[in-house]
Every structure is written in structure tokens, then in C-alpha cells.
Symmetry: C3
């Protein structure tokens, strides 16, 4: 099964928890044991597995990335003024592959799946989830 | 085939070579050509492909990450005192997907598969390996 | 289907666009909907999804990584003098998994697939592409 999750983002930089949507796709796939590939379409967005007890880790991710990748100092800024967003996206990475166990995402207690927005707000971000059974 | 590797970690920060365990799972899967998805369960651990000639690169990984992500300065530290571990895990990433070639991991001579521990020691870390044949 | 892309690199640090080669492999696989796993063989190379409108983002990636991972200060340099290349490769990561949609890579308009060379020039770099249908 392959499905697209669509999402509106309301901040320039922010993490958006998509665990419930990915779980729903895995369950409707009927795959009991395998993988779910989660992919962020867009060269200024990314996928990160991270804790979601409260907002603190999400805030720390934004603070940390802004510290090592400041805005306004990149060659690409002369073109689009979002060079920092591209670097953050490339560093975090567009894809994560999650195991599917017992027809559920095989996450640990504190792991959630996030879309990372680095160049928002955007009316529509797309995340593609592909579920594949083990061999 | 899907199997769980379990591991005890003995340091706060450390890389643990799991190449032999992943190789064993691939061989017992019978898959000749395909992929092996390797996933670290736990929001303060990660998977990295890296050299294992000696300890030097592993030490450099720990030194480098401590330099850009110092402990004790994060919002999450007020909660759990391990904000740095979450940032390191999110940055390195929970998953890597390895090709399977001739029923073996398709690594180069110097590539090994490591669990990265960023909040140890832990009595039990889990790594989930899922093997899937090409279509 | 599983195929190997081979590439000559002409710089010490550089990004090389392999989107056309990956697209060609996906098309010849006949897989309509699924994933393509893209893997860099070599512990001083990596795969990054990034924009390719012009060279600016690619240059920024090299500049940024050199800034946070300077050469010549690592334990591994006593052995091979390429400790920085290993750290860059481990941080960016050896693999990305791309969705396959309508027998094409499911990239967004500005996403391209790059091999990142961090220890070139090299006569031959290998990238392994494995295409798998959804279940």
C-alpha cells in the first residue's frame, strides 16, 4: 500500500507529529510484518524520529539547527533566501524506514514520527508512506 | 524475515558494531538480492554506517557530536536531563537501509553497521532488522 | 531489480547528481508503486536528497560541513588523514529510500538525488539501487 499524507504547516520552522496518520496507513495495508517507508516531498522538509512527551525536544531541535545553520549567510540565499532550510533538510534527511510489527509501527514508547518543516508556513506538505511485507 | 537484535551498552556514549548480527539474520532469511532495514528502537539511540578498522573513527564520532551538541543546555534537560541524547539520535537517524547482495550485506570493505548509544548504559537496546527481496 | 551505478569523482568534496541514473533503473524495473533504496558503498561517501536548480545549494552543503567538521583535528587522521570525511559520511548517512510512483521516482519538483563525495577524487564510486514493489 502507498498513501500520501497531506499537512498544512503554520510556522517557518516546526516539527509536526504524523505518527497517527502513519499508523492508520499501516493498519489499513494489512501488512503484519515488514517496513513502512516515510518520505518527505520537498527539499526544505525532512523526516525525524523523536520523542513527543511535550514540546521540549521539538523546540530543542529547532534551536539546535538554527545554531549550527544560521539564516542569511549562504550562497543560495541570493536566489531564494532559504539556504538554511535546504541545509537543515539535507542534514536531517528526507526518509526514515520504520519496521512494521503486528500490523503496527514498531516504535519504542518514546519514538514518534515527525515531519520537519524548515521553510514554512506551507499550505500543503506531502509525506509519502509505502508499506511492504517482509520476505 | 524480521528479527530483533538485543544489546547491553556499557557507556553513556558509544558505538557498538552489529554487522555480524545483521549478517547472520540476512543469511538465515534466504533472501539473495534485496534490502535489510536496520532500525534502532529508542529515541536516544541511532544507526550509523561507519568504518571499524580500529576505535579511532568511533571516538571521533562521539567527540564531534559532543562538540556541536553539548550536554546541559537544552529545554528538555529540565525534564529528563538527556536533551543532548535526543538531539544526537534525531540527527544521526534511527534507520539505515542496507542492500542485500548474494545473501550478504552489500557493504564496502570499510563499512560496518553500528548502534549508536547516546544515553547509556542500558541493560537492553533493541535493533529491528527486516529483510525484503527485490521485485 | 537491483543495479549498481558507478561514478568517477573529480573533487575532494562534491555532490554528484544521480537522479537520471536512478530514474532509469526504476523504469526498467517495471515496478509501478513501491520504493527505491539508494545506498552509497564507501565509508567516506553518502546519499543526500537536495535541490539542483544551480550549484549554490551544493556549494553550501560543502561549506557548511567543512565548517562544523574541519579537517586535520581528528584521532583517525593519525591513521588515514581523512577523519573529517568519515564524520561527514556518517552524519549525512549512506542510504535514502525514495518512493516509486507511477514507475518514476516520487520526488518533488526541486528534489534530486546526490552522491556526496567527501574523500575524492575517486576513480570509481558505487551506488546500489534496489527497487521493491509495495505489498
Amino acid at each position: 500500500m502507498q498513501k500520501i499524507i497531506t499537512l498544512r504547516t503554520d510556522r517557518q520552522n516546526g516539527l509536526y507529529d504524523i505518527t497517527a496518520e502513519v499508523t492508520s496507513i499501516i493498519r489499513s495495508s494489512g501488512v503484519i510484518s515488514g517496513i513502512a517507508s516515510v518520505y518527505a516531498r520537498g527539499a526544505t522538509a525532512a523526516i525525524m524520529i523523536q520523542e513527543n512527551w511535550d514540546q521540549s525536544v521539538q523546540n530543542d531541535v529547532i534551536t539546535f539547527l538554527r545554531g549550527i545553520i544560521p539564516p542569511g549567510v549562504w550562497e543560495h540565499d541570493h536566489q531564494d533566501d532559504n539556504g538554511d532550510a535546504h541545509l537543515k533538510a539535507g542534514l536531517v534527511g528526507a526518509s526514515e524506514t520504520i519496521p512494521v510489527i503486528d500490523n503496527n509501527p514498531g516504535l519504542s514508547t518514546w519514538q514518534n514520527i515527525f515531519l520537519c518543516e524548515f521553510d514554512g508556513p506551507r499550505a500543503k506538505r506531502e509525506i509519502i508512506v509505502t508499506v511492504i511485507a517482509e520476505s
